[in-house]
């Protein structure tokens, strides 16, 4: 089981799609992807030998039980919700979406929130034009597997000029380690629209010894002038593997804000990239992570500048404890012709144990002269000068270090736009940091 096999392919992909009664165009796409999955290699993130990870896990199609109201959702999910909240919400349980709620006033404005499987029937044109175009099946074996196997999924469509105030919440939940758990979130924000999406990825796997592979993807398409905020907290049992690829394609003057807590307890491979295609588009990415146990993480953020006067800023802050390892990559790419682009990135790693390891790799690839680009990276322990300063006011060493470590992570925590999720992130931090 240690090396991925090529047993999964065209036929297997088609069989699953047919069993779910999917439209012909989608079955054909899945067949192609299945074929690619058999042929392509795994991605090769810096210093992270994926061949040793148990990625040859397809799982079985195990749809969750549909819920008529939030109260019928699994306890683990229901407990995440504020009972008073009547905002937009979609829940995937194992291999299918089990609950969707969209306020009437948003429906009336033409907003669509459904499972992606449902959208394949109802919004074929939009899906054909967007699905897996920013994250292509041909990138590597994992993307092909994703394209062949994605299930449940989230489709959010925000029409032109529509501004959604309250965050749209997606809960992606698995409690069956043998289920295929491959959610895909597709967000299409039309011109001058505004939306904030909050994703909560979680599991309740109990003592299962099987490996759950979350091979998820997010694609955001921000049309001219659209602003999309995408906040996510990933936290699964350590027997799960988190593979998450996120892409945003930005048109003229569009903006994406990524606010992500990579809090998974097990091995993690995430790659988040903003493609600044339109002139004047901008991307702001803020990531935090806490590593515990002996988990290995590869966290990559990227920005690719095509448009004139495009701006990107990426900050990743990680705290590594025990024997955890994180390889943190930041890739700023400025293409020829992207004049006046400005790409900035910062990677900071705080090491709390001699056995912990953290690498920060800032990479700037610049093919244009008239641009600004900058990076800062640091790997180190809690700053002794800062501890001294706090202690000099009477604060104990333990409390001083606690303040500094939580403060280090605060720029992401404080920006999570949904109170319940922000509090959950706080609790996870408290548990992980002890």
């Amino acid at each position: 089981m240690s090396t991925p096999t090529t047993s999964f392919g065209r036929e297997a992909a088609a069989a699953i799609a047919r069993s779910k009664n999917e439209p012909a165009w989608l079955i054909a796409k899945r067949e192609e992807a299945g074929e690619l999955a058999a042929a392509l290699e795994l991605p090769k993130p810096e210093k992270t030998p994926l061949a040793r990870w148990n990625l040859n896990v397809q799982g079985a199609h195990r749809p969750g039980k549909s819920a008529a109201s939030p109260a019928e959702l699994p306890i683990a999910v229901a407990s995440q919700l504020n009972a008073q909240d009547t905002g937009a919400l979609i829940v995937q349980h194992n291999s299918s979406v089990v609950f969707t709620r969209l306020p009437e006033e948003l429906k009336a404005q033409g907003v669509v929130l459904t499972s992606l499987e449902e959208a394949a029937r109802t919004h074929e044109d939009l899906l054909r034009a967007h699905l897996m175009t920013a994250y292509e099946p041909g990138e590597h074996k994992l993307s092909a597997m994703h394209a062949a196997l994605w299930n449940g999924g989230v489709f959010l469509y925000v029409p032109r000029n529509v501004q959604i105030e309250a965050p749209v919440q997606a809960i992606l939940f698995a409690d069956d380690a043998e289920a295929t758990f491959v959610p895909h979130v597709l967000v299409i924000a039309e011109a001058n629209s505004r939306v904030s999406v909050v994703e909560n990825l979680m599991t309740d796997l109990g003592d299962s010894s099987a490996t759950l592979l979350h091979n998820g993807a997010v694609e955001v398409f921000a049309k001219p002038g659209a602003h999309v905020q995408y906040a996510a907290v990933h936290h699964m049992d350590n027997s799960a593997i988190d593979v998450s690829y996120r892409r945003a394609l930005l048109e003229k003057d569009a903006r994406i804000e990524w606010i992500v807590g990579e809090m998974h307890e097990g091995n993690t491979l995430t790659d988040t990239k903003s493609i600044l295609k339109g002139n004047g588009s901008s991307s702001d990415a803020k990531f935090i992570s806490v590593g515990t146990g002996s988990q290995r993480m590869s966290l990559t953020t990227g920005a690719v500048h095509f448009g004139l006067s495009t701006e990107s800023d990426m900050v990743t802050r990680a705290v590594m404890t025990e024997a955890a390892t994180a390889i943190i990559n930041g890739v700023t790419k400025i293409e020829k012709g992207a004049t006046k682009a400005n790409g900035q990135q910062t990677e900071r790693v705080l090491m709390l144990s001699p056995k912990a390891r953290g690498d920060a790799n800032p990479i700037l690839l610049i093919d244009e002269d008239d641009v600004k680009a900058g990076h800062a990276a640091s790997v180190g322990q809690v700053n002794a000068e800062q501890v001294y300063y706090l202690m000099s006011r009477g604060i104990s060493r333990a409390e001083a270090e606690r303040l500094i470590i939580y403060g280090f992570l605060d720029p992401v925590v404080s920006e999570i736009p949904l109170e319940e999720l922000r509090e959950k992130l706080q609790r996870i931090l408290e548990r992980k940091l002890g």
């Binding site: 700053n383 002794a384 000068e385 800062q386 001294y388 300063y389 706090l390 202690m391 000099s392 006011r393 009477g394 604060i395 104990s396 060493r397 409390e399 001083a400 303040l403 500094i404 939580y406 403060g407 280090f408 992570l409 605060d410 720029p411």
Partner: protein
């Protein structure tokens, strides 16, 4: 007679280099002492050694506050015993707001179960900030992050006013302050003067002492006090510089531990 604060024969080194070479000082309660001296004579080392900065190693001598052995205490215990150092270069700490930090510091003094209420705390902080003419927005800013030099100094004085220490050391509090800010800071310090609180003011300009009148003035050279006097000593130093002191004492190089 028992003094509030007493330093005897203090020797301290940084990275193996001895900077303080037998420093003595006795301060009574309610007194204001100024330590003046050119750059590189050990003034800031003195402040850091008293507070317990981890880079400075005290190799000899003693420090007592109210008869308690300061050198036996951790940095936090020194603060709880009543010491306060307004630093020349305060740290910037991302993610920790000024308010959270000060509340933690106040609660460290009050102890568990006796924490200050949020409302009371906010009121206190607002009042003190107003006295220092600080923008209320600084309450929720990350500690010293992005503060100008003058804003950092005011923030140090704000902490002093809220923590009400017994012995205040001001390390070059006047550097980087324009005259208006200097007056505000000095007014903050003067408002804190009382019979049971003492101040040790470290500066190399006399300017600050126009606004905070010292009882005693000491000149520091070569890692120790070489001359002491009253406020008139500071005025003469301002008018004539330090050369006459060096001449009088036969000192050629007043600095210490310079490469």
């Amino acid at each position: 007679m028992s003094s509030l604060f007493e330093i005897r024969g203090l020797k301290a080194a940084i990275e193996g280099k001895e900077i303080l070479k037998g420093f003595d000082l006795t301060m009574g309660a309610g007194e204001v002492h100024a330590i003046m001296g050119p750059n590189g004579t050990g003034k800031s080392t003195l402040a850091s050694s008293i507070m317990g900065h981890p880079k400075y190693e005290v190799t000899e001598g003693s420090i007592h506050i109210n008869g308690e052995d300061v050198l036996e205490m951790g940095v936090d215990e020194r603060a709880l015993a009543g010491l306060f150092l307004a630093m020349q270069y305060p740290s910037e700490i991302t993610g920790v707001t000024n308010a959270d930090f000060l509340r933690s510091a106040i609660n460290a003094r009050r102890g568990e179960g006796n924490e200050i209420s949020l409302i009371k705390f906010v009121r206190l902080m607002e009042t003190k900030m107003k006295e220092l003419e600080m923008d209320p927005e600084f309450m929720h800013r990350y500690l010293n992050e992005g503060f100008s030099g003058g804003e950092k100094k005011r923030n140090e004085i704000l902490q002093m006013m809220m923590l009400e220490p017994k012995l205040v050391i001001l390390d070059e509090i006047d550097s980087g302050l324009d005259i208006d800010a200097l007056k505000i800071v000095a007014a903050g310090v003067n408002a804190m003067r009382s019979n049971d609180r003492s101040f040790l003011i470290i500066t190399h300009y006399q300017r600050l002492l126009n606004y905070i009148k010292p009882d005693y003035v000491h000149v520091m050279m070569q890692g120790r006090i070489v001359k002491s006097g009253g406020p008139e000593l500071a005025e003469r130093l301002e008018a004539e510089g330090y050369d006459w002191v060096k001449e009088e004492l036969g000192i050629v190089d007043e600095t210490v531990g310079q490469a």
